[in-house]
Amino acid sequence: MTATRSARPAEGTARKTRELSPQPAAATVAVRPVRLGDLDQIVTLDARVTGLEKRSYWQSLYRRYGAPTQAERQFLVAEAGGRVVGFVIGEVRDWEFGSPPCGWVFAIDVHPEARLAGVGARLLSAICAGFRRAGVRKVRTMLSRDNNLILSFFRSQGMMAGPFIPLEMDLES
């Protein structure tokens, strides 16, 4: 970043700072382990958020993460009024690149109509409680830096940049 800018108002800031929607009253939401019968709603929710339907992917995630007996793997849903309004998935990963075991959150989604009512925060705190029960004291995630919504969410919950930097490259054919 460089260059002083003659201070001029950032477009949209005033509008943005004034659109104060009050926090909706926290609905009666229950967070519980996923059940087979939730999968259809999860597939639909994911398709709505990402624009891609991936039924077999979700079935395989269910098989790997859905067993409620394993403390290291968690697939939780938030239910309100008999409907799935969100889910979170994560697992304990051991000694990756020499780092002590930690909890990884690798998917979280809240139904667009149920957002901003604390459901995301409830899901994250439930999975963190599970990680604590599994004996880890740190939780990590990896996000696209273009996804400001989800970055803001995790930051609001107290997450900061960790000591790792993600790297990648294209594999030449």
Partner: protein, 155 residues
């Protein structure tokens, strides 16, 4: 990385205001707290008022108070009022920039810019206030531990 002086002043000020939205604070009070000239700060505050982040309060005491939404206003919103993140492709037009070496350096610099931008854009003032609180708590806890150690050492 360092922010320019006006930018830092704007962030300090918005954090002061946002920490107690009902309170009117004068430019002089903030200027004294952060050791800057009230004249300098006045310009920053009027810019923030122009953007609707604070509003001036008339009458006895005067000053400004917070007028934004701390849960949605991000550090980037305020930083962007005072300085610009260069978009390297457009700005890097010196002859050196167009050489292979200059281009490669541009790629590295833009990587850093992108990370900084994503960071500033995802931290709201509410998140910052929580961070400040947490640091104060940690500092108090560290002081308490140090004090306990000191008293147990000197009976």
């Amino acid at each position: 990385m360092r922010l320019q002086k006006n930018t830092s002043l704007a962030l300090y000020s918005v954090l002061e205001f946002a920490s107690d939205p009902s309170r009117h604070i004068s430019a002089a009070e903030i200027a004294e707290k952060y050791g800057v000239s009230p004249h300098h700060l006045a310009k920053v505050l009027s810019e923030l008022a122009h953007a609707g982040v604070v509003e001036s309060v008339r009458g006895v005491g005067g000053g400004y108070r917070f007028a934004g939404n701390a849960r949605r206003l991000t550090l980037m919103d305020v930083i962007g009022m005072f300085e610009e993140f260069s978009s390297p492709e457009a700005d890097r037009t010196d002859s050196g920039d167009l050489t292979p070496v200059g281009r490669a350096l541009g790629v590295v610099l833009s990587e850093i810019d992108e990370i900084a931008k994503a960071t500033f854009s995802s931290i709201t003032f509410a998140t910052m206030l929580r961070l400040i609180e947490r640091q104060q708590r940690d500092a108090a806890a560290a002081r308490a531990t140090a004090a306990t150690r000191a008293t147990t050492r000197t009976p």
